[in-house]
Symmetry: C4
Amino acid sequence: MEEFQSTNEHLTQGTPQTKEQLLQSLSQQTPLTASNHGPLISRQSSVTPGLRYRNLGKSGLRVSNVGLGTWVTFGSGVKEEQAEEVIQLAYDSGINVFDLSEAYSGVRAELELGRILQRRGWKRSSYIVTTKIYWNTKSDERGLSRKHVIESVQASLARLQLGYIDVVIVHKADPMCPMEEVVRAMNHVISQGWAMYWGTARWTPVEVMEAYTNCRQFNCVTPISEQSEYHMFCREKTELYMPELYNKIGVGLMAWSPLTMGLVSGKLEDGVPLFARSSFKNKYSSFSWTEDETQPANKEGYTWLKERLQPEETRRQQEKLRDISQLADKLGCTVSQLAIAWCLKNESVQCLLLGATSVEQLYESIQSLQLVPKLNTNTMNELERILDNKPIRPPMVSTLALR
Amino acid sequence: MEEFQSTNEHLTQGTPQTKEQLLQSLSQQTPLTASNHGPLISRQSSVTPGLRYRNLGKSGLRVSNVGLGTWVTFGSGVKEEQAEEVIQLAYDSGINVFDLSEAYSGVRAELELGRILQRRGWKRSSYIVTTKIYWNTKSDERGLSRKHVIESVQASLARLQLGYIDVVIVHKADPMCPMEEVVRAMNHVISQGWAMYWGTARWTPVEVMEAYTNCRQFNCVTPISEQSEYHMFCREKTELYMPELYNKIGVGLMAWSPLTMGLVSGKLEDGVPLFARSSFKNKYSSFSWTEDETQPANKEGYTWLKERLQPEETRRQQEKLRDISQLADKLGCTVSQLAIAWCLKNESVQCLLLGATSVEQLYESIQSLQLVPKLNTNTMNELERILDNKPIRPPMVSTLALR
Amino acid sequence: MEEFQSTNEHLTQGTPQTKEQLLQSLSQQTPLTASNHGPLISRQSSVTPGLRYRNLGKSGLRVSNVGLGTWVTFGSGVKEEQAEEVIQLAYDSGINVFDLSEAYSGVRAELELGRILQRRGWKRSSYIVTTKIYWNTKSDERGLSRKHVIESVQASLARLQLGYIDVVIVHKADPMCPMEEVVRAMNHVISQGWAMYWGTARWTPVEVMEAYTNCRQFNCVTPISEQSEYHMFCREKTELYMPELYNKIGVGLMAWSPLTMGLVSGKLEDGVPLFARSSFKNKYSSFSWTEDETQPANKEGYTWLKERLQPEETRRQQEKLRDISQLADKLGCTVSQLAIAWCLKNESVQCLLLGATSVEQLYESIQSLQLVPKLNTNTMNELERILDNKPIRPPMVSTLALR
Amino acid sequence: MEEFQSTNEHLTQGTPQTKEQLLQSLSQQTPLTASNHGPLISRQSSVTPGLRYRNLGKSGLRVSNVGLGTWVTFGSGVKEEQAEEVIQLAYDSGINVFDLSEAYSGVRAELELGRILQRRGWKRSSYIVTTKIYWNTKSDERGLSRKHVIESVQASLARLQLGYIDVVIVHKADPMCPMEEVVRAMNHVISQGWAMYWGTARWTPVEVMEAYTNCRQFNCVTPISEQSEYHMFCREKTELYMPELYNKIGVGLMAWSPLTMGLVSGKLEDGVPLFARSSFKNKYSSFSWTEDETQPANKEGYTWLKERLQPEETRRQQEKLRDISQLADKLGCTVSQLAIAWCLKNESVQCLLLGATSVEQLYESIQSLQLVPKLNTNTMNELERILDNKPIRPPMVSTLALR
């Protein structure tokens, strides 16, 4: 509760002091004014300050600018009742995106979310469920075949107890599977009514372009979004390449970020916020898609994470985090809140996935929405100076010049 | 009953004097000769004078030239038994189009019509149900996404207890949703068997053209009709642009008209028929699609209505209505009947939706069909002189000329 | 039985003398040698002399060269048990095509055939059911819309108690319905699995070409057959235009012929076989598609019939029939058998529909298959001389020459 | 058991001496080290030495490099329990392809495999079932029509009790059926969800190319594999033409081989392994697709078999087999194992179907995987010298040169 309360001191006033109070106010379903402790309850999203709806990519699907990444919510340490409270708070706050993002425990996450949605009985049109197709080279789910796509989607539907998934996301491209097969399979999934849209996760811009080209060639539905890691230490893809994909082929960006997923603990070590390293390692090491992390084609993504684990890099980034922490203090928010607001400041991020294991954590994260307008040019410049990692597109080297 | 009876004096002879007599004759199912009091009962539509079947747009679907717009029939003041009588009279008169046109109470209208169709047990091939997809920017139904299209259609089917809707009509284009997504979604709805055709309502000619272009590009089924407001004070779109759409891309016109929807009361104020203003306001103010009425993109449609509510405009149009009322007297019909006949005189109107809250009102409206042949050149010229609002296409201004 | 027995004297030897004997031999299911009285029973079609299987059009569907046109079988004078015997004999003889061809009593025919197929329990792959979509301009089934196509097919499936129809045939083109709508509707019917193929009936060659063009344009399944009237007095379309359609776009020909449908009675009037005129008139007058017989677009088809009913034409054709009757005597067969064999001699006729109200009549007709090889050049020339109506394609008149 | 044991002496050490021991170890489900007697049990395929997963054709479907051809497993002499043991061993060894390949007893094979899969309850994603569409010109299943394709697939699904077949294989092209109909039918089967992929069997390279061209023209899913006979005495198609099909249009190769299907008995006659001729003849003579073996278009395939049955050819090939047998002895394996390894050595063979009537036979065959790396250049050259039948592509003869 420390972390939560320390947040309150900064960004919000009169917040309920305990989880019990918070939940009680939720159950009462009385709209609370912003001057009280922020709009937690009303389904009228406009009440949550800063929460907006945007079209995902150039599709017609309207998503809240923050979504719930259930990665940690359905993690091993969280009970189903606790997860349900988090889901309820997200829904009441106007968040309409629930993203199932974990390879390892995806089965359990889908089962739990399915049961929660059943119990809640919300109108199907009021929320958006996105889930993923994972594949690897070892188990039965070998490669990204049409067989695997269809089997995965049907299994997810059964677990979620839903008639359809809103966005089915293909996690990693399969260099061994022709793109024609993938786009035809996704088109099949959509035309069967099992999904409304499809997207990608951790694909390179060239792979997304290839998918688009194949969709055009075979008259298939095009993907609407790419899901990428994005945070202060992982900026290149999102800042340099995603705007081009959006402008040219309408592929939007859902971003997820370890910094916003509860992986930054509230504790300080030598004045620096600590990553919850042990749980972090557990998470990552159990991911099936880390199996080929060493391959060049997949270097994007967790590069930062692995670098971070090297001692010299750890030191440099902890220095940066200390500076960021001081800036956060000046702004009256936590490092985590600053990290979220900084992501949202980027217009390319149409939906930023927040992670939360508790209502308190989610509540704190949602408050970050109010921080975004405060990130003025000076503050952003200051942050850029601290980070010192603004990505630049490498110059086009003409092969003519090499002669 | 006043309005109804005054009508009878003019256009019909020997009409049943009371609702009871009218319904009794309906239940007897004996064909009545035209010299008696008009064909109310026989399903053989050719007996209703002036009722014709036309292809809607360039599709193969044959619609009666007047349809029942259930806008007011399922309104708040009408009981289900009363609505059922209206539906029965329409069906017996050979009308085969039942249009569900109200955003606000659409749910109730679909439920009621569904129950009535169940009870009546008419052959499914003998009638055509058209319903709409509404969307807005505030509630869960945000934007015209594939998700919303599919969810809306499935909800309508459930409420109507039908296997399919004959024409699903997309109400308003969504400038934020790519047209490709809309036409693919409508094609999906049709290829799933949930609908036979699709159409639009309140789209601009350019938006309809864009939809058509996208259908051609992606090999999707093209829309067959646009539904527009059309009456003596709202003529521009229908008279200038709809014939072009019909000729070039086969999109027909279903017209609805407040003047024919029971919104002109029978009472006179200073010799002028009064609009039933209070109910009028209630209707309009509760429409979700009036939310963005102030936006330029949506000016078409209720412009006339809003102008009317301005005092100076109200006076001018009441003068016009007084002259029209005198002309109606000369023709031996009511203003409402003249308004209907005037709409039907326009060949572009393939199906004119009539509104009715009672069998008497519908009966009176249907009599207007016999008025159409009487609207000769002289009368039409006289009307044109009174209205003084014949729309003219603005001259093409060459940008070269501006240099 | 006279007609039947007179046949036996000529073409077959040792035929069962009574219906009871015939049916008894059927029920015994013992293969009978050709030297006995022809193969009636075995499902091995190769045993029925002259019965062959051909691809219908350029499709992969293999049809017997004679099919059963159930037009008269399910007519008003025939009991269901009698019809069932006819169906059984057809099936046992290797006929695998059952064509439902009557507009008027189509509903009853489908119901009866459905029940018979249920009772027989034959393997679904062993027979082919073709049925038609009729439409007119008067009743609920107005025009050839997508709505009507789908409603008709679903109603037929329900009546036939089948999962799919093998060939759905569109009876008459609708000049008011765009061909795009028709081919998309037929493609829908096929892609839904309700039909395997589609064909046309009584379409002009240009209409068939237009359908083909639209199929190619919209990537729809092309029609495989046209069903036309063909007999000695109605030759133009089949002999002049159908071969071109087959060669260019693979549309085959199913032919039906009043001469082979039991409409030629065995009785003689002044030495001329009489048409069973009364039943004939009943048949035709009840056909909904005769409603527009007077329109030029539909002149093809029953022109011959109507001409025949004019006194002068009747005389000329009765003279021809007398000569044909004498030729039949020389060949040792009935006029009806000669008419059938003459049709089968034309290679363009991939499937000739035979009509029968009794097993005896069908048995006689099937014997005609053995007559085909006997129709040598001399006989055919003799017939051509008698008929004196060999169709010639009119010369192309150059508009240049007219200047 | 002789054959099996003699194998053990050569290639494996410490193999279970009796079937009982083998099955007992299977039922214990304890992983056995390679030093013990080879990995029979674990589902982790990587444990079976030499077993690899490859993409079939250029599709995304990952198949084990050896599959189980159930041709002989579900043959007349094998009980269902015995077949189930074979299936279980295959599955446990990491084989994920079960091919149903028998025209004659296909019905029984599908029923048995269906029951076994039900009983085993394996995850559907963990295995791949391929089955065939057979057709002929005699029975009800005349020609390769859309009707026959759909009826066949539905019948197979019912017998297999599966929701879908992984690869539906069209056995023989039908020269009378347009390729458009075939590819549309296969596309239909896939888009209905009844199959994941389609392939061909015993098609010529030109027929496969024609199918591919039609798929491209009509936007249908392309075939992923051709199934061909391949062994030391039937090499031309596989070695000369299949690589081109793979490289140009992504069609892979599943090979089946009488030499590996248990048709080479372990007994020696004059030092030469004998083909189990009697059972062999029974098999072949009952195949419906041998009906047109005498036609030139179908000469490919069993040419070798028929040649073999001619005395002079029999002698020559028995001499070759004697030399091969001696070479096998040198390598410490059986002729059958050498034949399998020789097939697998060809990279074009993405999946080699093994046949087995008993677990012992399958176990022996699987051991061949370890033999592949031992087939070095010298050994392959030696084999080539013995076989003396390396296929050469005939030179292109220019018609110009003939002038």
